[in-house]
């Protein structure tokens, strides 16, 4: 049984349930002193942490502005990549409330496919006009490839478990992730492999800050994709069906929406974005490794949670922020340094879960009863 009040039609989240929960939380917070004490502690702890972060940023900005902006550029270009992956998590979570653990590994597979496509099948090793043509061809191919795989995973692994207890699909997703990593090991070998990029290697300098061309190309690929996806989700019939299914699958079916097809389409969309991210990563960093997907997937998931999981613009915002945090932590003179980046991101994940599980843009959520 699900609480159902009237729903604003154009959200992928489920506002009516959140409203009920929010009311419940407010009541609890007002009625019980224990709850408000906890809220007070949480609020103050959160403000102290945020204050410290800003202090850290300010100190670094004053100390060396150029390094600060350089780190920011690197961070944002990472963040754009994370955004593409995070969207896949958030789309799938929005529609079937599954943390698709295998999504990061799909990204890794996309990178491997791109490397094979460009360097092996087409033999492109250096920047050239043909190279750019192959790059765009590969973009389409890798998006199709990852979309197909994601749909297949949904069809064969997750679909049967849609009615099962939550634990089952989650464990299955972990299993799928392991199998994709196995494919990655077979395909790529058990260590990292480097590739020549067909993107131009230069950079230009804006008042002391180096901006590589690859960053610009990442933006040039990502932004149209994001616009396209927003268009699909908000303007097309398919998008409307997606949002309806996300709100209430049973009601959507009663309205004549093919729920299975819609969910498969969502997986295809997420997979395509992961594929694009794989290509961009492989071309801008020139590295593939079977466990990249696991690491980046977790970072991207953190981004999705930071933005508010289920919320599309939130995922992009969260990804840019996480990318920034990581870039700044790596590049700033006073920072923990690269070896702690991963730890910092996971700490953010945990702090978020504790203080604000709904993320920055998300609405409060509660388990469906």
């Amino acid at each position: 049984m699900r609480g159902r009040v009237k729903a604003p039609p154009f959200r992928i989240v489920l506002p009516e349930i959140y409203q009920i929960y929010r009311r419940a939380v407010t009541i609890m917070a007002n009625s019980s002193s224990r709850f408000s004490a906890r809220l007070l502690i949480e609020r103050s702890a959160a403000s102290i942490i945020i204050g410290l972060v800003f202090f850290w940023l300010a100190v670094n900005l004053v100390k060396s502005p150029s390094q600060f902006f350089q780190a920011s550029v690197i961070g944002i270009s990472n963040g754009v990549l994370y955004a593409l992956i995070a969207l896949g998590y958030t789309l799938v979570y929005g529609i079937i409330e599954l943390i698709n653990f295998a999504h990061g590994d799909l990204f890794m597979l996309g990178g491997l496919f791109a490397a094979t496509f460009i360097s092996v099948w087409f033999g492109q090793e250096t920047p050239s006009t043909t190279g750019y043509g192959v790059f765009f061809l590969c973009l389409i191919a890798v998006m199709g490839f990852c979309a197909t795989i994601n749909v297949a995973i949904e069809r064969f692994a997750y679909r049967r478990l849609r009615r099962a207890p939550k634990l089952a699909p989650l464990i299955t997703a972990v299993g799928v992730s392991f199998i994709i990593q196995f494919i990655g090991i077979r395909w790529n070998g058990s260590g990292p492999r480097t590739w020549n990029s067909i993107l131009p290697a230069g950079e230009f300098v804006v008042s002391g800050v180096h901006i590589p061309y690859t960053t610009i190309i990442s933006f040039a690929v990502t932004i149209p994709l994001l616009i396209l996806m927003t268009f699909i989700v908000t303007k097309t019939r398919r998008g409307k069906a997606m949002r309806a299914t996300a709100q209430d699958a049973d009601a959507a079916r009663l309205m004549g929406i093919d729920v299975n097809k819609t969910i498969a389409f969502t997986f295809a969309l997420g997979g395509a974005l992961a594929g694009a991210a794989g290509l961009l990563f492989q071309q801008t960093r020139g590295v593939t490794n079977y466990n990249l997907g696991y690491q980046l997937g977790l970072i991207a998931f953190t981004s999705a949670v930071l933005g508010g999981i289920g919320n599309l613009s939130g995922a992009v915002l969260g990804a840019i922020l996480i990318g920034l945090v990581q870039g700044l932590n790596d590049g700033l003179p006073i920072g923990l340094g690269q070896q702690w980046s991963q730890t910092v991101v996971f700490t953010i994940l945990i702090l978020l879960m504790v203080f604000r599980p709904t993320g920055l843009l998300g609405k409060p959520m509660v388990e469906k009863v």
């Binding site: 699909p169 977790l298 730890t343 879960m353």
Partner: protein, 397 residues
């Protein structure tokens, strides 16, 4: 408040099943006989056997594999309490294993050479560092882990199940990373970084020093620890706390309505689970004679989960079977099988690299076709298939 889980169960089957845990004498006898038989076999008989047979055992089931499997059993039983009993998905169990291991590293070696503390240890008195007795470290490690379980659990247990999984995963990543990068934390060497801490002290047993190769005696220690965990698991399960866990696993809302204290019970599950993780960690450190940060990877958490899922979530015996078989396949079975196949067919296939496929495959196929595991627990079987014929969930065919 009295017996929430039994009330919730429709049939009387549940009650009978719960009481099975009280039937202690049977399993203790069986367990002891099996454990002693294996001990006698490895300590005395295997050397007397003809070379072909002892070589077979050396290749397919060496004593060190038996000991290592027992460590896995201890940890899997702990994870079983969290996942199988309380129904909380924990993807970061390796954190407890790591903390337990480093407890052994800290308190049983020369690592803190600034001080010189000796309590009940077999190490020579002039050796610097903290040297506590193995049993003391076992206890300390378990308690520290239990405390960490509560610390990790306390702020996160309000979350939905899948979020909880992610937070535990985050901890499972952070804690090994802290150990890995812990060579210089503000000038303090916490963990010796990637070099790890090695060697750790010998175990003292009845005034006898157990070196790294005293596998038979260590086997006895490990098997008793595993027995302790079985005992704890079965006893708690029959008691009020265990029934509260099962109630939470089956229906959290209903359980809280019946007066089960959700937070306290879940925290207890984390604490007991982590407790066994600590024991396993200390035991493993003495087994490999050191702690090494890069061993504590996410794969360990997943392998433990696969053990619990394969054997049958919530069923102690199932988990033991799952843990023994997967640990054996992982450490000996797959390499030995690969060696045999490669030498017989003249191929060069790297069989151990297939363990990703194996564990992924186990998780998927168990979830798709036999969600309750190989040795299912009857209550859990009902719940896991209950949802199949309900219509209240999302999507569907």
């Amino acid at each position: 408040m009295k017996k929430p889980s039994i009330k919730f169960n429709k049939t009387s089957k549940g009650k009978k099943e719960i009481n099975k845990g009280f039937d202690q004498s049977k399993w203790i006898r069986g367990f002891t006989i099996a454990a002693v038989a294996i001990w006698i076999f490895y300590a005395f008989i295997v050397d007397l056997l003809p070379y072909v047979v002892s070589d077979f055992f050396q290749k397919w089931l060496p004593a060190t594999t038996v000991n290592e499997s027992l460590v896995w059993v201890i940890c899997a039983l702990g994870l079983n309490i969290v996942v199988g009993y309380a129904g909380l998905l924990d993807l970061g169990f390796v954190a407890f294993w790591a903390i337990g291991g480093y407890c052994a590293g800290w308190f049983m070696s020369d690592f803190f050479h600034q001080v010189n503390i000796h309590i009940g240890s077999m190490a020579p008195a002039e050796q610097p560092g903290i040297h506590l007795s193995f049993w003391g470290v076992l206890f300390i490690g378990a308690l520290i882990c239990a405390a960490f379980g509560v610390i990790i659990g306390a702020p996160t247990l309000r979350l939905k199940s899948d979020y909880l999984a992610l937070v535990t995963l985050g901890f499972g990543e952070i804690i090994p990373q802290i150990f890995y990068n812990g060579e210089n934390i503000g000038g303090f060497n916490l963990s010796n970084g990637s070099k790890g801490i090695s060697p750790v002290d010998n175990i003292g047993l009845f005034g006898k020093k157990l070196g790294p190769f005293d596998l038979d005696w260590k086997y006895l220690i490990f098997v008793s620890l595993a027995a302790l965990m079985v005992f704890i698991s079965l006893r708690i399960r029959g008691g009020r706390l265990g029934r509260a866990w099962l109630a939470i696993r089956e229906d959290e809302l209903a359980a809280s309505m019946m007066g089960v204290p959700l937070m306290r019970s879940k925290l207890a599950a984390y604490a007991v689970g982590a407790f066994s993780g600590g024991i396993g960690g200390v035991a493993f450190a003495t087994h490999v004679n050191g702690v090494f940060a890069d061993r504590f990877s996410f794969a360990i958490s997943i392998i433990l989960l696969a053990m619990v899922v394969l054997g049958g979530m919530g069923n102690v015996w199932g988990v033991i079977v799952g843990a023994l078989s997967i640990a054996w396949v992982n450490s000996t079975g797959l390499p030995a099988f690969g060696e045999t196949v490669n030498s017989a067919l003249g191929t060069n296939i790297n069989f151990p690299s297939y363990n990703f496929l194996l564990f992924g495959g186990i998780l998927i196929f168990m979830m798709l076709y036999k969600r309750e595991g190989l040795l299912p627990e009857s209550r859990l079987k009902q719940i896991l298939h209950e949802a199949d014929d309900s219509t209240s969930n999302i999507g569907g065919h």
